[in-house]
Point group: C2
Chain length 214, copies 2
DNA sequence: TAGATTGTTAATCGATTAACAATC
DNA sequence: TAGATTGTTAATCGATTAACAATC
């Protein structure tokens, strides 16, 4: 019932709050103030309070925030209390790397299968997850209630495969291909463009060197 | 000589301009106006012109921008005209995936070696790049003029290894570990936090469903 | 020259920070 | 009660968009 629109900047920060709160929980901390959290995370306390208050009053005056409660509430906001069946397309190193993160499962993302166009990989298993041929894609998605596809294939094939995914009703694509997918707006897309990330690092090195070398 | 400070938002967009211009070049387009580019990239023409004018007047009134010239200039701004020797720490699937991107080399990032704490991997080669033991790390960096380290190891070891890298003078870290590295500000860090990316996708799915299901 | 399109200033919009009353 | 800290409003800052004169 989205009354007030939540800004993109806030959403981008939520997973980081979630991570810090998880770590605090693991180290047995029960409560934390926005001031203390701000020191650890290197953001302003004001921003933390503003961000959280987009979703409700999770704290208590004079006390701060209960770590476990806040962790769980942010988890709900992020939808981590729901389960989603996922497939990985592309069984190369990147696809296998994704398949090997057990962490994703604890957050509700269950990798059910992998797909690769190379027939020699069919039947191979990565952490118990089987690789299928690309011809089985549509049938598998429909019969196994797959919501999410991680697209870990080169740019060239990505747009065609994304269209196939959309055609059989996928809800979301986690896109690792170095291209933008222009899909209907009811299909959610999250991009991970490694080459752009590396260029940003390059920019930082370059501009730092220019400033410090006269 | 940093006269005017360039905003972070602009820098984040530069690699995407670079990618689009590269694709235009490949398809033989010689000139493009901010209006035409804005349609392709789904951003405003005003933003494109503002962004570019942070760095200089690359266009020409009545004509637009020369694609190849603009591509090269943005490349220089990003520092892609310089060469950087890189190592990859962690020879698991993710490390291997990074090692296999030949594209990085064409942009000046030369992967010289990989490192892994598992001695069984020592001597293994990925695309001709050899895996070394972690005990060789410091010597290798110093004797081979390594500027950048990609950190593709689990969170637990990342902070210790990052400190070792800093101690022997690394300039930049491309961090794939699910943790923040709080390093001296003369060491550049670019984070790729896959779990946070997946949570953002989760948020999108969740909030979209809540809006569309009454 | 006429048309097109940049470079740039001004206006708007949004996000962050500061401040403080409310309240545990 | 006194101290601490939130929730929230107001002030500031920064980023985006609009508009248009300059000019190719």
């Amino acid at each position: 019932m989205g009354e007030k629109e939540i800004s993109k900047a806030v959403i981008k920060r939520l997973p980081r709050y979630y991570r810090y709160l998880g770590e605090l929980m693991d180290s047995g901390v029960e409560r934390i103030s926005s001031g203390e959290l701000s020191k650890r995370m290197h953001v302003t306390a004001s921003q933390i309070r503003q961000d959280l208050n987009n979703f409700g009053g999770f704290g208590q005056q004079g006390y701060g925030y209960n770590v476990q409660y806040l962790y769980e509430e942010i988890g709900k906001i992020l939808g981590l209390d729901k389960r989603h069946n996922m497939i990985i397309i592309g069984a190369g190193n990147l696809g296998q790397a994704i398949a090997n993160y057990e962490n994703f499962e604890t957050r509700g993302f269950i990798t059910k299968a992998m797909f690769d166009k190379n027939p020699e990989l069919s039947g191979m298993k990565v952490r118990g997850i089987e690789v299928h041929g690309m011809d089985e894609l549509e049938d598998y998605i429909v019969s196994n209630d797959i919501h999410i596809a991680a697209l870990a294939i080169p740019k060239a094939g990505a747009i065609v495969v994304a269209q196939r995914l959309v055609n059989c009703g996928i809800k979301a694509i986690w896109n690792f291909a170095h291209t933008d997918l222009n899909l209907p707006k009811d299909v959610m897309v999250e991009n991970v463009h490694l080459s752009e990330s590396l260029m940003r690092l390059s920019y930082k090195i370059n501009s730092y060197e220019q400033e410090h070398r006269k």
